[in-house]
Structure formats: structure tokens, C-alpha cells
Symmetry: C2
Subunit: 236 residues, 2 copies
């Protein structure tokens, strides 16, 4: 936790208030925060500030804002991922948020186990978004969309995300073209499930405007490939 | 598991033999392997082959090698990481191996909890190396070294890893110079602990030939920053 995310209503009075149990416990145990310390605070969907700790109790910590700090820029990327196992989903959300992905789309695919759509994690996504934001020092949550039907998404929605200056790349091992690097513009990245997209899905993605690109001959897990690809594409 | 790693002695007779419980269980439950199927096999520290399944029993699977397949190239990188929490260490090893890191050095640092050096995971590193190799389709284990004393390592060993065409980059948030991208040559990457290196450590690293470089103003967890940096540096 590198900043403390607050709701706007916690910052309405002159002294701002941290009252969430999770945050109080973290600041008490890991940071051992004391009166007079400075604390980085982000206002949900708003600005970031350096604050000074004015009082510490078990119920709340009171803060005085000192000055504004910059909120890190987002990566202009829409990450479209075949719905992974719950454990992977949790990491995927946290890492994508930490790295600044603007929009995350969870998509069904032939090799996605239908039970993955039943995981309770889907009710807790906002919690993992918060953890990612507090890790990165960001305040703006990404959009997250769920699409449980592959074909309608690829035929009706995906084309609206693609344009000449906003390509879509689907990671696919069996093509010559390499994933580009250091691109200076927005794009969509499409990551298949364990075992990959089936040929029908790859064909449909390409037919609807995606470029199939290879990441080389190592097979990388979903949760690992996402930071790897983001580091490659946005290495500017 | 995208290949099955075998020891050379399992491939000495005409028919090769899978007998490890972990591999048999995986092939039985996740792959449901049958006689006549083809199976990708790697010989530890050796070559990779496509094989045909000749027999399947609870005790062993017999394979006939069909033809050789290329072993993916390694990244010419030495990854030097402040010893992380055991849970992070496991992922760090698996991901680094999957992505092809040539050499991994686990280093002590002021902000590393001494208890981390007591974790049983350190006795199981080779298991997580195997999982990473079987994920990537690689057969060559990276070198892994442990250095429990920061100063002697940085002053005596680190300089021997650095040369004009083999720089060392230490990720550090408070510098202007950005981490380079798409470099065409070998390098060392140095990643600090949670909370970062202390100023004394950064100074000592720089004094001994490291370049302090920034990854921007997002704070990224160790396990996430490694694929992110590898994707950035080796995006050729």
C-alpha cells in the first residue's frame, strides 16, 4: 500500500479521515504510523495529496492535506483476457491495475471452464482494484467489463475498439509476425485461455480486425504474460 | 506443463520412460494422455523432442522419440533480486525461468526480513525451476546463487558481472534516467526489496558500476516488475 485511497466524503471536512478497517490495520502494523508522519493519500477517481497525520486512534486516523501530488498516467490499452482461474484472475486484476491498464475486458472462450464465471472473486473485483491502485499510487479505477459470449463480443463490440491508430493484437504462438514493441499509441491486447484460443476463435478475431502476433517460442502463463507484454508495448 | 522434463537416464533405452508421480498425475488428470498421442519431452540440460506415447500405466508412460525440436533461447540477463517473501520467491523463480533468465542471484539487503533466508522454499527451488522449464518448454535450468551479505557481493562480485557491453541497471524510483528498452545485448537487472534499497545501498551499487534507472512513477511489486522489465529490455 503506497497510498491510502479515500472516498471523497472522507475528505470533505478540513481534517481528512481514514476509517476503513483494512487501511487502519495496515497502517498500524506494517507502517506503524505516528502523529506528525506524512502519508500519501489518493481520493477515489480524483487527485493525490501528501498529507500530515494529525491524530491516530483505533477507530480513525486524521490527516491534514499538505500539497497535491501527480497521479500517474494510465497506459492507453484495453486488455481483453479469456476468463482465467479465480487465483489467476485476482493477480491479473491487481497487476493490470498496478501497471495502469485503462480498461479490462474478461471474455469467455471455448477453453474457459464455465465454472470460472461463478467465482465469488467476481463480486470482489473492486477490492483487488483498490489493492492495485494503492500499490501503484493511482486513484482512477479501470473500467472492467464481462462478456460471457465470445462471438457476439468479437463480431459486434471488438470492431468498435479497433481503428487505424488503435490496433488490436492477439497473442498467438503459431505466427511469424512478432508482437510490436515501444508503440507510441493506444491498442487492445487479447490474451487467450490456458491452452490458447481454438482455431475458430483465432480466425474470428483476425476476421474482425485483430493482428495475430507471436511472443516467441516460450509458453508464458496468463498472469506473467500481461506485465511482459505491457513492458514490451509501452517501453517508451 | 507444456513439455515433460526427463532425466538423461530415463532416455537411455529405446523407449523413454516417464515415472515421476507429479508428471504421471498431471498427464493422467489434465491431459488424459493415450497411447498414440504425441508428447513434447525435454531432456534435462539437453535437447527437446516430439515423442509418441507407446504405453500408459499407473507406474509409467513409455515414449518413442519422433524428432528433435528447438529449445528456446535464453535471455542474456542476470537477475539480481533482494530476497523476497517466500510466496513471492516461488513466483519469481517460476516466472524468471519461464521467461528464460540465464542466471538468478538472491541478495540480502537492509529491508529484507532475515527470516526470509530460513524459508523451506530455498530447499525446493529446483522444483519451481522444473515447473518454470516445463511451462516454457525449456530444458536448461538457470544458475541460482544466494548472497547473504550485501556489501561483499556489491564490491567484490558485482563488478565482475559488469562491462561496457554488459551494463547493470538498478530499478530506482527517484532518478531521471529511464530504464532502457529493446537493448540488443546482455545485462544485469537489480531489483530491490519491498520499500526499496536504502540510500547507502543505492550509492554503493552506483559506486560499483550500476546505472540507476526509473520505471516511471508507478510502484510495481517485485513479482510483477520482473516480467515487465524483461519485456521492456528484450523487446527485439
Amino acid at each position: 500500500m503506497n497510498i491510502v485511497l479515500l472516498d471523497p466524503r472522507q475528505t470533505e471536512s478540513e481534517l481528512w479521515i481514514i476509517s476503513a478497517k483494512r487501511q487502519l490495520e495496515h497502517l498500524g502494523t506494517h507502517v506503524d504510523v505516528q502523529v506528525g508522519d506524512t502519508l500519501k493519500v489518493g481520493i477515489r477517481e480524483g487527485k493525490r495529496y501528501l498529507t500530515e497525520v494529525m491524530s491516530v486512534s483505533e477507530q480513525q486516523i486524521q490527516l491534514k492535506p499538505l500539497h497535491e501530488e501527480p497521479v500517474p498516467a494510465k497506459l492507453p490499452v484495453t486488455l481483453i483476457v479469456a476468463m482465467p482461474r479465480p487465483k489467476v484472475l485476482r493477480r491479473l486484476i491487481m497487476d493490470s491495475v498496478t501497471l495502469g491498464v485503462e480498461k479490462i475486458i474478461l471474455l469467455h472462450s471455448y477453453r474457459v471452464d464455465k465454472s470460472y464465471w461463478q467465482t465469488p472473486f467476481l463480486q470482489q473485483l473492486s477490492h483487488y482494484v483498490d489493492l492495485g491502485l494503492e500499490q501503484a499510487g493511482d486513484t482512477i479505477a479501470p473500467q472492467i467489463q464481462l462478456h460471457k459470449r465470445f462471438k457476439p463480443f468479437v463480431e459486434d463490440i471488438l470492431p468498435t475498439l479497433i481503428s487505424a491508430d488503435r490496433p488490436a493484437f492477439v497473442a498467438h504462438p503459431y505466427v511469424e509476425q512478432r508482437m510490436p514493441a515501444g508503440i507510441g499509441h493506444a491498442c487492445s491486447i487479447i490474451i487467450g485461455p490456458e491452452g490458447g484460443f481454438i482455431p475458430y476463435e483465432i480466425d474470428l478475431l483476425i476476421k474482425n480486425g485483430c493482428q495475430a502476433v507471436s511472443l516467441g517460442n516460450r509458453i508464458i502463463r496468463t498472469e506473467t504474460v500481461i506485465p511482459y507484454v505491457l513492458g514490451r508495448l509501452f517501453s517508451l
